[in-house]
């Protein structure tokens, strides 16, 4: 019998809060990459359970009230495939996890597919050259100077990597009415986020509007509105289909499901995580040599976040949503303003790739990422290293994160160019010259680039719904195994 799909509005309390908000008002952040030591699974479960019970893992409903009752701290927990296995979750044979997640970002196959050669990673989600697999990712956000939620995970249970945020990443510059997030090279970050339909705005009932009321800005706003199923498992996606939900053994019996017939992964999401170190010195030298305008061309936006085509006007501040209201196809088809190879045009080509605007926007929406990363800073041996702890939420790793990485960002022949992304391109010097073409200068321009970033590690994590989280960390550890055995025995 076919089951009716879940209504997103009824499940806000089961969806982790980070899918609804980037916690812009919580300016301190910290990421923990935990590897559970062998034999300490039960202890780890208990530790995690305690953490969950403390109520810091915010849900979307709480976050939704943030306008009126902002929460003061929030955390999120996600698990790599090996982490789920370590904690006793056995994937269901009928609804297994998708291959990319199961094989892990750290696997050799993914290294090829993500064009990650060479890799010299400090950590990843699979056991290998970069050490033992990271099992659990905990992200926490707090108000400034309040101090961390987790002081230190128990060393006997976990081996942990701590990634601290860069305290200088929120800055208020001239013309800003509030502090805004800036990454280490000085550009505004966190713009052009997709708007999840039904999560950010309440559109279950939409008043009928006449044609005249529809303004241009509205249409452009619709460009960024994406179906929830692109980020949250179990809901309608851009194909008008319900996103595939994997299941684990014992979930159904546990009775934890909020939605009748809902599987384990309902209300969850996948996180593609990469720790990307930024070479600030190299970029400063580049800026010195070429000027800020060329740097802006590399990024595709002005450092204050305004589109390149717009003239910055501090007296007329614009919201992030307004700063996102532009397209390329008509005004800038050849990249004379924003080069075709610029970072933001590569990773979100908007209306350029298809045969017309409508189909281009439609197909671009199949490859959107919800970014929840934060700049980080690392002080070691008297040396300060900065970078971004990149987190992209998506519901189909292959169609979203991997596609963007493989076909757009790191594809040297993307839209007939012959170099990859100026910022997140491959660090392999042999693949292609690091350069960016700047069309439209009197006789065409080209700048050669240094290698501005290096990926230090990465992994795929599953961000479960809160009920599923309870199941993972729950006391049923033993029961889970028991049920799996029962299930196996029952299977023909």
């Amino acid at each position: 019998m076919k089951a009716p799909a879940a209504h997103l509005a009824h499940h806000f309390d089961d969806i982790q809060g980070m899918l609804r908000s980037g916690y812009g008002w919580l300016q301190d952040s910290r990421f923990w990459l935990l590897t559970i030591r062998d034999g300490k699974e039960t202890a780890a479960r208990a530790w995690l359970a305690k953490f969950v019970e403390s109520g810091v893992v915010a849900n979307a409903e709480e976050v939704g009230k943030s306008r009126t009752h902002p929460i003061a701290k929030a955390a999120a927990i996600a698990f790599s495939f090996s982490g789920l296995a370590k904690l006793g979750c056995v994937e269901d044979t009928l609804h297994p996890f998708p291959t990319p997640f199961r094989s892990g970002m750290g696997s050799d196959a993914r290294a090829l597919l993500l064009r990650d050669n060479p890799r010299a990673w400090r950590w990843s989600d699979v056991d290998g050259d970069s050490g033992d697999a990271v099992h659990v990712l905990i992200a926490e956000w707090t108000e400034r100077d309040v101090g961390p939620i987790i002081s230190r995970p128990d060393e006997t249970i976990f081996s942990a990597i701590q990634v601290d945020n860069d305290p200088c990443s929120f800055q208020k510059l001239e013309g800003d009415n509030e502090e805004k997030l800036r990454e280490a090279f000085g550009f505004r970050d966190g713009l052009a986020q997709p708007v999840i339909k039904g999560l950010k705005q309440d559109d279950s009932f939409r008043p009928r509007r006449s044609e005249k009321d529809k303004k241009q800005a509205d249409t452009l706003y619709d460009d960024s509105v994406v179906q929830p199923g692109e980020f949250i498992l179990g809901y309608r996606n851009e194909y008008d289909e319900l996103t595939y939900c994997p299941d684990v053994v014992g979930w159904r019996q546990s009775g934890l499901a909020n939605h009748h017939g809902g599987r384990f992964a309902l209300n969850g999401s996948y996180l593609a995580v990469r720790q990307i170190e930024q070479d600030v010195e190299a970029f400063s030298a580049f800026r010195q040599a070429n000027g800020q305008d060329i740097c802006n061309k590399l990024m595709g936006r002005q450092d204050n976040g305004w589109p390149l085509a717009w003239k910055y006007d501090p007296s007329n501040p614009k919201t992030d949503s307004e700063l996102d209201a532009f397209r390329y196809r008509v005004d800038d088809a050849n990249g004379f303003t924003c080069p075709k190879g610029a970072h933001i045009r590569r990773v979100n080509p908007r209306d350029t790739l298809g045969v017309d605007i409508e189909s281009s926007i439609k197909s671009t929406k199949l490859h959107r990422l919800l970014r929840r990363g934060r700049p980080y800073r690392e002080d070691s041996n008297g040396e300060t290293r900065k970078g971004i702890f990149f987190i992209a939420c998506n519901a189909d790793l292959e169609r979203q994160f991997e596609f963007v990485q493989q076909r757009w960002a790191r594809n040297p022949s993307f839209v007939n160019l012959h170099a990859d992304d100026p910022f997140v391109g491959s660090s392999d010097p042999q693949t292609f010259p690091k350069a960016l073409s700047l069309p439209g200068l009197p006789s065409g321009g080209e700048v050669s680039l240094a290698n501005f970033t290096t990926t230090l590690g990465g992994g795929y994590f599953f961000l479960p719904g809160l009920a599923a989280l309870k199941f993972i960390v729950g006391e049923e550890g033993a029961t889970k195994f028991a049920t799996s055995e029962v299930a196996e025995a029952a299977a023909p």
């Binding site: 076919k2 089951a3 009716p4 799909a5 209504h7 044979t93 009928l94 609804h95 297994p96 998708p98 291959t99 990319p100 094989s103 196959a109 290294a111 090829l112 597919l113 064009r115 279950s204 009932f205 009928r208 044609e211 309608r236 996606n237 194909y239 008008d240 289909e241 319900l242 595939y244 017939g261 050849n334 990249g335 075709k340 298809g354 045969v355 189909s359 439609k362 197909s363 199949l366 189909d396 292959e398 169609r399 991997e402 596609f403 493989q406 076909r407 022949s413 839209v415 007939n416 160019l417 693949t431 073409s437 700047l438 069309p439 439209g440 009197p442 006789s443 065409g444 321009g445 080209e446």
Partner: protein, 604 residues
């Protein structure tokens, strides 16, 4: 006209592979094949894969499949002849295990035997599409050299700061330098293109071609009747009437010719009428009326909807109830018009015999009003349904089992070519062997091929970009269905392009197939443990591939990894087109558009 495309894409599937030949990348066989294809120069793509035997086959050994994509106009017989008789004997080394004891035989005997066997198992594509590889590999290579040279030259000129701000002067200087470079003497000729991509590319040329054929046909039919009639007339005038038998025969021929003429003309008129109707309903009215457009869009959306909802269920059922009788009526009307137009006139006369003129006009007006009201009502319902509540559009989950699973061998072969043209081999079963399925697929594939050859000549199939070669084969006497493709991009992205850009073609090509369980062809190769079916379609062309999850799982499960792969050129479709454009711009007339093309080519 289609065969010229179809025979460019060949599969040779030989059963009974015993798997003793080493096909790994560094094996002598692979290296030999690689240099063979390089040397022969007309092979654009080649790959080898093992096709697992059908579950119900007697011989459980896999099939060795050699896929070739070759240049236009070469007969497969000649191609295989050239490959087999090549001095390197690379083909023999691949296939020698089929004759384990024959190593000592005369080379010519072995070659003959091998050629015969390959011809026996040869399958030219039942349908196929060629993107930018209508050019020869040699042309692509030369044009790519020109592109790279131009970019380097431009870089040097920019550094020397010779031409300042003047784009036209810069382009002119580049063109001059290219012109003076003796390496590019070949580029003086405009890039060769086949008729439909060159002279016949315009709509008027295409329409003119069809019109010419039709007029020639009418002329021929007319001559068949007119020549005997004229001859008889002259004979009668000169010598008096001949035998009555002769007169009768001539009269019959003359009558038959007239009848065929009439029917031909009426068929065209009927087709034109239907065309106008379709244009009116699908293009003209939507452009004029927002209501109609929205209504049409929502019908399309509901028919395409991958999840089951009440809205979609109802639309489909009501659509069936309405459209089937209307379609039948239209076809019947068309047939009546074609074969016996007078019945329509008579029926009209009989019906209007008792009506006055004003009554007829009133009836017509009434009909139009009813139609408008009906459309208005439907559109109103359509809009209000959104308000009725979520239940109407509430999706019911299509439980797709084991979705988003990729066999490691497939992931690996995809990863290995991530910097090159991607490649896929998919093997499925026909829903009913030897029956309707094969027939329908063939017809559909011919349509796809025709469109690809004549209409979609800009390297996009529908609006799906990046396809180098895509070809379908019905093999094993209509039991199985093979699809091989070379394309730019990732597999998932490729299927997304199909889902969004070529829905109809993809549905037509796949909807008569299914996936039956089968073993794996070799250790480390995928098996199909659980049967899958192609997502159900509506009205043949709706839905189907729109069920992304089900379609992608289906395609993924049907895939087989390649064991050997050769690609004559690694450029993407866009790059190939760019280089050809640059060639024509550099060596063509000096005008603004060519200057701009040159500048954009070096700027990208």
């Amino acid at each position: 006209m289609l065969k010229i495309v179809r025979q460019q894409m060949i599969c040779i599937a030989v059963p009974g592979w015993n798997g003793t030949t080493d096909l790994s990348e560094d094996s002598p066989v692979s290296k030999g094949l690689y240099s063979l294809f390089r040397d022969v120069e007309v092979v654009q793509f080649a790959s080898i894969a093992l096709l697992p035997a059908r579950a119900d086959a007697v011989d459980k050994r896999p099939w060795l499949m050699l896929e070739l994509a070759i240049e236009e106009g070469i007969d497969p017989y000649d191609m295989i002849y050239r490959l087999v008789y090549h001095w390197s004997e690379a083909m023999w080394s691949l296939y020698s295990s089929f004759w384990p004891s024959d190593a000592t035989a005369l080379r010519s005997e072995r070659n003959d035997k091998l050629h015969k066997m390959l011809m026996k198992h040869l399958s030219i594509a039942d349908g196929g599409f060629i993107g930018a590889r209508d050019r020869t590999a040699r042309q692509i290579e030369k044009e790519q050299e020109l592109l790279e040279w131009t970019r380097d030259e431009a870089r040097a000129m920019k550094q020397a700061m010779l031409y300042g701000d003047d784009r036209a002067a810069f382009a002119l200087a580049l063109a001059q330098r290219a012109f003076q470079n003796r390496r590019f003497g070949w580029a003086l000729d405009p890039a060769p293109r086949s008729y439909w991509r060159g002279k016949g590319a315009s709509i008027s040329a295409k329409a003119g071609y069809v019109l010419t054929l039709f007029v020639l046909w009418l002329l021929a039919v007319w001559l068949v009747g007119a020549v005997p009639r004229g001859a008889l007339g002259i004979y009668t005038w000169l010598f008096g009437p001949p035998y009555s038998g002769v007169t009768d025969v001539v009269a019959f021929i003359s009558m038959a010719s007239c009848w065929v003429l009439g029917v031909s003309i009426r068929i065209v008129l009927a087709l034109l009428g239907l065309g106008v109707l379709v244009w009116l309903l699908l293009i003209a009215l939507p452009a004029l009326s927002r209501t109609w457009r929205r209504w049409l869009e929502s019908v399309g959306r509901e028919l395409d909807r991958p999840t089951e909802t009440w809205s979609s269920w109802l639309t489909y059922r009501i659509g069936l109830l309405l459209s089937v009788p209307i379609a039948f009526a239209l076809v019947a009307l068309a047939f009546a018009f074609i074969f016996s137009p007078w019945t329509i006139v008579d029926a009209y006369k009989a019906w209007t015999a008792n009506l006055f003129g004003w009554q007829i006009i009133a009836l017509v007006v009434l009909a139009i009003v009813v139609l408008i009201c009906a459309v208005g009502l439907l559109s109103r319902i359509n809009q209000d349904l959104a308000m009725v509540g979520n239940w109407f559009f509430q999706p019911y989950e299509e439980d797709v089992l084991r979705a988003q699973q990729v066999d490691p061998s497939i992931d690996n072969s995809e990863g290995l070519v991530v910097r090159e043209t991607a490649h896929m081999v998919s093997l499925t079963d026909l829903r009913s062997p030897n029956g309707w399925s094969a027939w329908w697929i063939r017809v559909s594939l011919r349509i796809v091929t025709l469109f690809g050859r004549v209409i979609f000549t800009e390297s996009r199939l529908g609006s799906a970009p990046g396809i180098h070669f895509g070809h379908w084969h019905i093999i094993e006497d209509g039991r199985r269905y093979l699809f091989c493709s070379n394309y730019d991009g990732s597999f998932g992205g490729y299927l997304d392009d199909f889902i969004n850009g070529a829905t109809i073609g993809t549905n037509l090509a796949w909807r008569w197939t299914t996936l039956k369980p089968r073993g794996s062809a070799a250790i480390g190769q995928p098996a199909v443990v659980h049967a899958r079916s192609f997502p159900p379609t509506r009205f043949i062309v709706f839905r189907g591939v729109k069920c992304e999850l089900q379609f992608k799982s289906y395609a993924r499960d049907s895939m087989l990894p390649h064991m050997f792969r050769f690609d004559a050129r690694k450029e993407s479709v866009d790059q190939i087109n760019l280089a050809t454009g640059l060639r024509d711009a550099l060596f063509g007339a000096r005008n603004d558009s060519n200057d701009d093309l040159i500048m954009r080519a070096i700027e990208s």
